[in-house]
Amino acid sequence: MIHVHPVERAWIVMGAVMLAVFAAAVFTSSLMGGIALPVPEAQVDPRLVATPGATSFGEPGLRELAPGQYEARILAQTWAFTPKEIRIKAGSKVTFYFASKDVQHGVHVDATNINLMILPGQVSKLTATFDEPGTYNFICHEYCGVGHQTMFGQVIVEP
């Protein structure tokens, strides 16, 4: 048996216990907390993504799936989102699909859990319900070039 000084042993045990507690916390919260990690929804060819008819992002925009339920396809490119603005009634549930035409982008919609990377070649998907009327800005939060700071859009929730 290797000789370990009692003080050093105490610190090793404390470190190991801390690691175990963190691992257990991550594990249980991921299972119990209903954490939805955004995983790639589908693959899409970035060279064709903006071509009308080639992919569902050829004509991006908002579509009504059912009363109060929408899907929004938003195309990201340097340095704009298309469409830049979507309008819905309060209480609507919107499933967002994002795809990039060129480089890597990101998006965060204010006051929602929508916080995604938009990678060229992949479709990112998340759903949010907008109960409170107001204007929810969404911005690109992954540096994408000199015009990055101008890349934003708005979800306008009407009462």
């Binding site: 299972l31 589908a42 569902s56 579509r63 009504e64 799936l65 059912a66 009363p67 339920q69 899907e71 499933t95």
Partner: protein, 220 residues
């Protein structure tokens, strides 16, 4: 004392090693549980009611169309016809597999029209059913539940995104194919995987399948 410590470390190594091996080599493969399927209240081609409850315990592949669709929907119908033939040879144990074609053209596609259409595509009524229902309820179930966009065009036809959805016997969506012409072998493989899970996940086998879900052992 020393042997107790050693066997405790040994046990820990076996547990950690076994978990890692399971997650890396993925001996059990599953399809993800995507979400709950919507409840359905439909009328089939024989004017009998077809609901999500009567379809419990069966693997159901849904597709969405309308009978006047014509050429645009021919590819999907022919894939389903081929699938129906292949399913005859596929042993899915105690879990029956059913194909359900839902028409969103409730005004035109009456049970009689659906029956004619079913005969036209060579559907075996015991395996492949055609159904429609109340327009507002359909919109909620197909549009809201299955997330399949459709809207009536001014000429009476429909604008829609082609899709097939695989639902397991517990009423959970397990695969979505958002394409007009899905690959036949992919459909067969997925149906086989869901059927295997249903028949093998009794007793201890259930834990292996739950572990496969936990460690995302998804078939690619």
């Amino acid at each position: 004392m020393r042997w107790a410590l050693r066997s405790a470390y040994g046990l820990l190594a076996v547990v950690v090693g076994g978990t890692l091996a399971f997650a890396i080599f993925q001996p059990v493969k599953v399809l993800p549980r995507i979400s709950l399927a919507p409840s359905l209240w439909l009328t089939n081609q024989d004017q009998r009611s077809l609901t999500s409850e009567t379809l419990r315990g069966q693997i159901v592949l849904y597709n969405f169309t309308y009978t006047r669709c014509g050429e645009r929907c021919a590819a999907q119908t022919s894939v389903l016809r081929a699938l129906q033939q292949q399913l005859a040879d596929l042993n899915t144990g105690s879990v029956p597999v059913r194909l359900v074609t839902i028409s969103f053209d409730a005004d035109h596609d009456t049970p009689a029209v659906l029956r004619g259409f079913a005969a036209g595509v060579g559907a075996d009524p015991g395996q492949w059913e055609f159904a429609t229902g109340d327009a507002a309820a359909l919109k909620r179930a197909v549009g809201g539940g299955f997330q399949v966009y459709y809207a009536q065009a001014p000429d009476g036809g429909f604008e829609f995104d082609p899709a097939l959805v695989l639902v397991d016997g517990w009423g959970i969506i397990r695969a979505e194919y958002r394409t007009a012409a899905p690959a036949l072998d992919r459909l067969l493989r997925d149906i086989r995987l869901v059927a295997e899970e249903a028949s093998n996940s009794a007793g201890v086998g259930r834990y292996a399948y739950e572990a496969a879900h936990l460690f995302l052992c998804y078939a690619r």
